[in-house]
Subunit: 206 residues, 4 copies
Amino acid sequence: MRKGATTRELILEQTAPLFNQRGYAGLAMSDIMAATGLEKGGVYRHFESKEVLALAAFDHAIRRITDRLLGALQGKTSAVERITAILDFWDAYAIDPVVAGGCPVMNTAIESDDTHPALRTEARKVMDRYQRLIRRIVREGVSVGLLRDDLDIDAFASVMLSTLEGALMMSMLYRDPIHMTRATTHLAALLRGYVVAGTTRRRRSV
Amino acid sequence: MRKGATTRELILEQTAPLFNQRGYAGLAMSDIMAATGLEKGGVYRHFESKEVLALAAFDHAIRRITDRLLGALQGKTSAVERITAILDFWDAYAIDPVVAGGCPVMNTAIESDDTHPALRTEARKVMDRYQRLIRRIVREGVSVGLLRDDLDIDAFASVMLSTLEGALMMSMLYRDPIHMTRATTHLAALLRGYVVAGTTRRRRSV
Amino acid sequence: MRKGATTRELILEQTAPLFNQRGYAGLAMSDIMAATGLEKGGVYRHFESKEVLALAAFDHAIRRITDRLLGALQGKTSAVERITAILDFWDAYAIDPVVAGGCPVMNTAIESDDTHPALRTEARKVMDRYQRLIRRIVREGVSVGLLRDDLDIDAFASVMLSTLEGALMMSMLYRDPIHMTRATTHLAALLRGYVVAGTTRRRRSV
Amino acid sequence: MRKGATTRELILEQTAPLFNQRGYAGLAMSDIMAATGLEKGGVYRHFESKEVLALAAFDHAIRRITDRLLGALQGKTSAVERITAILDFWDAYAIDPVVAGGCPVMNTAIESDDTHPALRTEARKVMDRYQRLIRRIVREGVSVGLLRDDLDIDAFASVMLSTLEGALMMSMLYRDPIHMTRATTHLAALLRGYVVAGTTRRRRSV
DNA sequence: ACGCACGGGACACCCCGTTCCT
DNA sequence: AGGAACGGGGTGTCCCGTGCGT
């Protein structure tokens, strides 16, 4: 057992990627036991059911991702810098995911769609937070005069997340980060199109 | 007694949406029996295993979608018209999917990523075809002089599919087609940006 | 197919030993198909069900055994000769059964006891005939003055058949005809004990 | 929760007569589940396969019978008393079997003959023990001078068991203990014929 | 806090017996 | 007579969760 880590955290740390890779239905308690080295008694002491564990593991995965993302935003002040940091984060994610198995939100959304309401609700909540984060950044950019005010903030957040999630799926399907690169490049260009002339230094167009 | 081919089609028709909604691991043979009204003997006569059936059901779903999509392309000649038809197809899909449960390619890509190589391979093949279709259309548009030749055809296809797949996931997660609408609107505008001035009648901007 | 044999007879000829060896529950239609070289359609054309076939196969086995036994009795006139012929028949049966798998009556009696009333009835009928045959012979021997009239005819037939059937079971269990030899030797001596002195030539005592 | 050993015994107690009545092929796991009130998981926890269970059930049945038989021999000292006790045991068995369905050894010998080597071996082992028991008793009777020394001990044991097993089959086939009575009466008389004159009080002849 | 025995029950797949069509 | 079709019961595996013992 890792020093200082409680058993509960150990379990989450080990199972979060497994749930992310194989899904709720595809992951068995026996896999969890094998991964944690615990027996059932040990696991059930901390989580009253597989479902509760799955929910907690999802939360854990999201927390890890969010921590990393917020870290990447640290010190980035302007909207463009912050959006760019997010795009960079996704680029990195496609090469080396924070949590193995792709984006937990998308994975959960796909699997739970018609089967597991609790997980679906959780995924939606996280997606809400992602949208709000982007909207907040963009709104700030607009209010500050960095971005044009004809930018449809809701649509931008929606399209940006759609494109990034879709591109992650493509990159994982092909085991090739190129699709993510193309998506982030495209989104960066899109954003640049809304930057008010003269407010920032030109980057080379892609 | 029923003709075998009929029963086989019946099974595929009934199970394709179920696999699409619940995934390979989430769908039990008993669900299949319930959906088809057949007993085990009947199902296993036509498909030697759940895996073989899942593969066939995936194929079936794709065929249904492809047929519909090709139908929508019927009579559309110019690249812009054809891409627009594809976008319209996705818009409609988000409201009323041809196969319940979202896009089989994305669903399969997500679930099979770390668990089911055969399904993953199949999903990749179909995604290849989608990419080739878009590239062919765009390439023709460029060669004909309708679209600017600085358009990165591969990147366009990649970004377009990423965006549409991601948007479908978002629309399903929120049970709200708005995300798809935003994605297609965005992609339509993107395409319009590459149309050579004077080659087509202006559409009202969206 | 054997010349002159109808398909029906071919089936019975092939399956009688199989039913005798493996029992009704232990023999599958697929075994029957393999043994006969026919497909299911062919078998069901002649026998409407496995049960009907099993009954017919039992009958067939009994007929073959009875034919052989009656052949062995041919020309034997005195009761002692006839009983001895029967004992010889059983001795030979233990070494090389007329129908593979032991005595169909005993096999059927054992298997069908709590499971298959129709077969049980059939077995009982045949056992009745066996008992009647022995009683008739012995009764004739008594009436002719060859055998003592204090011989309990019913008990003799019963004990004789019990001993022979039990001995056949033992010989098959041990794959050793010695048990049958001991039984027939014992029964021959028993019978001799009832022979009226001076009516027959002494055999060497065993 | 129940103790495992208890459940194991429960299963054996309930299934031993079932296997004895219907045979290995004729008894389904579902019958076992119905008889024990357990679900598959419960049964398979204690027995890894139907075959292993069948073997254990056979052992269990034999143990029950042996216990009863040894109990009947308790206090019986002379060879004649002991053999008589065994005959009485069989008489009682034909009326009310210790294990429903007849003699497990014979049943198993018959069914397993051409199908189940493991069971056959087991049946043979038990039959060996039966033979040894009788031989030992008779041998002791001879060495003590109670029985004549021209008695063929091996043949006596063999014939006695053949007769008893065969008679049990007959009694079960006819649902009439008379055949067993005749067999034991006969065997008692046979034994009496070997008693050295003057060593024991005459019993009335049967 | 954890290991482990326990057992209910779902699951996949096989194969059996029968029918129907050719 | 061949053989596809299919209802259905078969076995054994696995899975989840409980509760006892340490």
